[in-house]
């Protein structure tokens, strides 16, 4: 049976989601062609009259757009942005991102639950970005979230799985795809999260700021696939103490 990621009834072969904050055409091309990304995030901003190009021109058909609510400071603003984004006619997916903290850009879990509840009732496929906490994740699930997106480390920090233990609890206890978002800085960290049982990885800065963007996009793809395969396979056991010979003892020398 083919292993697929299912979010809001939609199937994806890829488990790599591109955040497009630091975007240019090369990044999107690399993420789709070398990274295999099938979901790309977007943000809504005021239009001006001088624009000659749109990010939508660079995203190939067939890629699912995931508008986020960045800029929102409370549930009300996030709901407003989500409704406006849906009116752009690019589908029902929305990533809720609500922040009051400008230094660490940590999401406001309480407001995120409120926004999730309203938007899920309106038929949105809601993917909330959250600070990993089991009770909050349960509330998000009850509110109708289609997946949960815990942060690994502060946005753009490339610091890796700083919240590893809490993310593992969510993976073990929450019956929704757990998508690790923010802070993943290297393919090895993406692989580790996938080995733990994460459903997908979202990254932007790690790829956008790499020496060779297409090569790093491919590195992430391979790492995510390796981690997923290892998770599905089941890890080898860890000894509590001592050693266990992996070679047969020949009896030759002693």
């Amino acid at each position: 049976m083919e292993d697929k990621l299912v979010i809001g009834g939609k199937e994806f072969k890829s488990r790599f989601i591109l955040g497009s904050g630091k975007y240019n055409m090369n990044l999107i091309k690399a993420a789709v062609e070398q990274g295999g990304a099938e979901i790309i995030t977007l943000a809504l901003r005021r239009a001006n009259t001088q624009e000659s190009e749109s990010i939508l021109d660079f995203i190939p058909k067939g890629v699912t757009l995931l508008p986020n609510t960045s800029g929102a400071r409370n549930a009300e603003e996030a709901i407003r942005i989500a409704r406006l984004s849906r009116a752009m006619g690019c589908g029902d997916f929305v990533k809720i991102e609500i922040m009051r903290d400008a230094k660490y850009l940590f999401p406001d879990n309480y407001e995120t639950i409120k926004a999730t509840e309203t938007l899920a009732k309106e038929g949105f496929v809601v993917l909330p970005y959250m600070n990993p906490d089991l009770n909050v994740a349960r509330d998000l699930q009850n509110a109708g979230a289609a997946a949960v997106m815990p942060l690994a480390a502060p946005i753009g920090s490339n610091k890796g799985l700083a919240t590893k233990a809490m993310i593992q609890v969510l993976i073990d206890e929450i019956d929704l795809p757990i998508i690790v978002d923010a802070g993943i800085g290297k393919p090895s960290q993406a692989c580790e999260a996938m080995e733990m049982g994460a459903a997908a990885i979202m990254a932007n800065t790690a790829i956008a700021t790499a020496g060779d963007v297409p090569s790093m996009a491919e590195s992430f793809k391979l790492a995510i696939e390796a981690g997923r395969k290892a998770y599905l396979t089941g890890m080898g056991r860890v000894l509590a103490r001592g050693a266990s010979a992996s070679d047969p003892l020949t009896g030759f020398l002693h």
Binding site: Y23, A43, A47, T49, E51, N204
Partner: protein, 64 residues
Amino acid sequence: MVQINGESKDAANKNLYQYLVDEGFDISRVVVELNLEIIPAEDLKNITIKDNDSIEVLRFVGGG
């Protein structure tokens, strides 16, 4: 005066669709909110801008 994306404009009594086109907005790539209400693209031509209206014209950009 009318507020358009936070700026005061002399746009009262003009047709909303025509005003946005004349200002140079790419209508196919924006969503328009009039006094906090989303205006479906097909309705833009039926709306006359009124004094004190507040209009937001938004588009997608890169964002995480």
